[in-house]
Symmetry: C2
Subunit: 202 residues, 2 copies
DNA sequence: TCAATATCGGATCGTTCAATCCATAATTAA
DNA sequence: TTAATTATGGATTGAACGATCCGATATTGA
């Protein structure tokens, strides 16, 4: 049943897509409501009626990102493939997505909310992206654990160490892409990380 | 010979230190001039007289950072030590510095200027930190090349790939530290990267 | 048919932003 | 001394900020 009141006329998906691209390109702080209004074609009233605040819009835009381009990292949570294969797809897939020229460079989740600002709104911005980063890390760690139990990795493998190595490289991809490092070099780097995985087999 | 005119009464080093800590903690965009005025104890006139603009102050603060805490990465440019040793000191030194609780977490250079903003000032902010990142990368690459020529690394080593792996991990340290990853896990991760280096020997 | 509800465009809110101006003070060069 | 130059504190600028208000409009449930 439709809710009472005048129905919304704008396309929510299109608005979130436009907002996502803007936040992705410029970051949360540097993106103004005036820009968001122009990009989405919405008035302040519509924007605030639908999302409550700039921070609320950012959260929804991040969710849209995670469901869209950011979904490339979902493969690492797939336990039906071997842990090495999952990590390989995670790294190579992330590189391909982040260097795709049809949208802004890098990863919105990796680049946002990495500094602490005093405003209350900042904490919320930080929380939503940090949560996704923590989830990715947890999935990587689960892969490493699976690798050890399956025998792909040595028994004495430092799980947290290998996890931090892979996750660190993953996070560093974004900055490198922003600085212009080529996809080819990054794919080779991912192979180097995976070679490390192989070298740790018993 | 002293320059003509009324001499400056404030401590330039102290002012840059205060500004550096603020930019480090909050990032360029989220740091306001009012905060910078309070932290440095200077008036707008003194600030603008000495640095010209917020962007100019940021550039000087970054130089102060590079000469101070950021100097830990200088070791990778030291050609008197073996390339593996240089990379080892780079990674472990960076982790120790970034997790030191006597100052903000992470690396100011790695966390700043990773997004493109439309304003003209943004380009300048981006330039100064991106230049340092490029320099670090070049030094890492030189180490990898030295490793190949010295025989530490195999002749068929993908130089750009290994460089991107090491640099990517280095850049990713900052985000991990901001998210609370422990120094211990990161040191173990650095060892994993270095183990990769060793495994690539011929 | 009508009250209640929710969205719309657009004007507008008070605040904060980076930056500038001004009168005064302190120094050097002539 | 005097003129030129630079730094100082403090008031102030116009613009941009995020957010809200308002009258008009469109829909639902009674």
């Amino acid at each position: 049943m439709s809710p009472a009141g005048r129905p919304r006329t704008f396309d929510m998906e299109a608005a979130l897509q436009a907002a996502m691209l803007l936040f992705w390109e410029q970051g949360y702080e540097a993106t103004s409501l005036a820009q968001l209004r122009e990009a989405t074609g919405l008035s302040s009233a519509s924007l605030y009626g639908a999302f409550g605040s700039k921070e609320g819009l950012f959260e929804k835009a991040v969710e849209h990102y995670i469901a869209g381009p950011g979904s490339v990292t979902d493969v690492v949570a797939d336990e039906t493939v071997s842990p090495r294969e999952a990590v390989a797809r995670l790294l190579h897939g992330s590189i391909s997505m982040q260097t795709d020229t049809s949208h802004p460079r890098g990863c919105l989740v990796a680049l946002s909310g990495t500094v602490r600002a005093p405003g209350a709104g900042e904490a919320g911005v930080r929380k939503v992206v940090a949560a996704r980063r923590a989830a990715d890390r947890a999935h990587i760690r689960a892969c490493v654990v699976r690798g050890v139990t399956s025998g792909e990795l040595a028994e004495d493998t430092d799980v947290n160490g290998v996890t931090s190595m892979i996750h660190g490289f993953l996070l560093g991809i974004s900055t490198q892409v922003c600085d212009g490092t080529s996809a080819g070099h990054l794919h080779a780097a991912a192979d180097a990380v995976l070679a490390n995985w192989d070298a740790r087999g018993r």
